[in-house]
Symmetry: C2
Subunit: 179 residues, 2 copies
């Protein structure tokens, strides 16, 4: 089919919208969910996943490199090859996935997870705003690491039909108990 997905603009929000993940994070996550559903059934090809998720296959080819290098997926080459998860879905934290796809979590220069970037900000000694960014980073990190791939790969509990005018999806998850 290759439904010729239209090129997505850089940002949906014109001029607004803070702290968003890029499409690498989005597409890569969806790809991982796809793999989790097929876990145990042998490899599945990129073309199949791209088709099923309506994502550009050449682009996925680039993303999957990061996932493979991180050991999150394994590949088998040749005909009837494809990808499968490197570990069981319950043992893959989404923090790992997104870090592999997007790099270290760093809401600000002075608050990167990557120690290689420590001290890159000359204000480190006297800047107390730093405390804010560290708090945000920590919040994102723990949120991501509290959800595993298995949590996302469960088939939808409700019917696939989105019902009602107010479709505020009330998904239930332990990590979501907080407001």
């Amino acid at each position: 089919m290759t439904t010729e997905a239209p090129r997505r603009p850089r940002s949906i929000f014109p001029g607004t919208g803070a702290v968003h993940f890029s499409t690498r994070g989005e597409y890569g996550t969806r790809l991982m969910v796809e793999l989790a559903r097929h876990h145990g059934n042998g490899p599945i090809s990129l073309a199949e996943m791209a088709d099923h998720e309506s994502l550009p296959r050449p682009y996925l080819e680039q993303l999957v490199v990061s996932l493979r290098e991180a050991g999150l997926v394994t590949s088998t080459r040749g005909a009837r090859g494809g990808y499968q998860l490197g570990r069981a879905p319950q043992e893959i934290k989404m923090g790992e996935v997104l870090r592999a796809l997007e790099g270290p979590i760093a809401p600000m220069v002075c608050a990167s997870e990557d120690p290689a970037h420590a001290g890159i900000c000359e204000r480190m000694g006297f800047c107390n705003v730093n405390h804010l960014w560290l708090t945000v980073r920590s919040a994102i990190s723990t949120a991501l690491d509290s959800i595993t791939l298995a949590d996302l790969a469960v088939p939808r509990a409700t019917h696939p039909y989105h019902s009602g005018p107010v479709q505020l999806t009330n998904v239930q998850h332990p990590a979501l108990a907080e407001s």
Copy 2:
């Protein structure tokens, strides 16, 4: 003076680094901290703050528009004019500041705080990855709203444990437990 700050590149991390705030968030926050320190001493001019924080004044002129429109600062025009906080620092949550500067918190299209963007994703009905982004958004939101401007404006932060005078906003966030 006018130290001619070099144009900062779009991103400090070449190709890596997820979910970062832009310089609007960074500069605007520093500007607000500056204002908080002078709170009660009348207006302070943009030029003075730009000079003291080594930030480009023409750029700050743009940022401060958003802060003014959000009611976070008030301006007095004319000679000896300037800006001052619209409220006491203890009553300004950093979430408000960042939202005014950068727009609604939205790690992904389908997880924006702004209800105007609800339903923009056609996968809302059946996509369970949505749950992940909502969790992340909630984590960021509560982290930002748990810190006030007063927490950052302490005169000299010698320690992450800044136990100011009797404040009702005692920042003890579970997400802060991690290093």
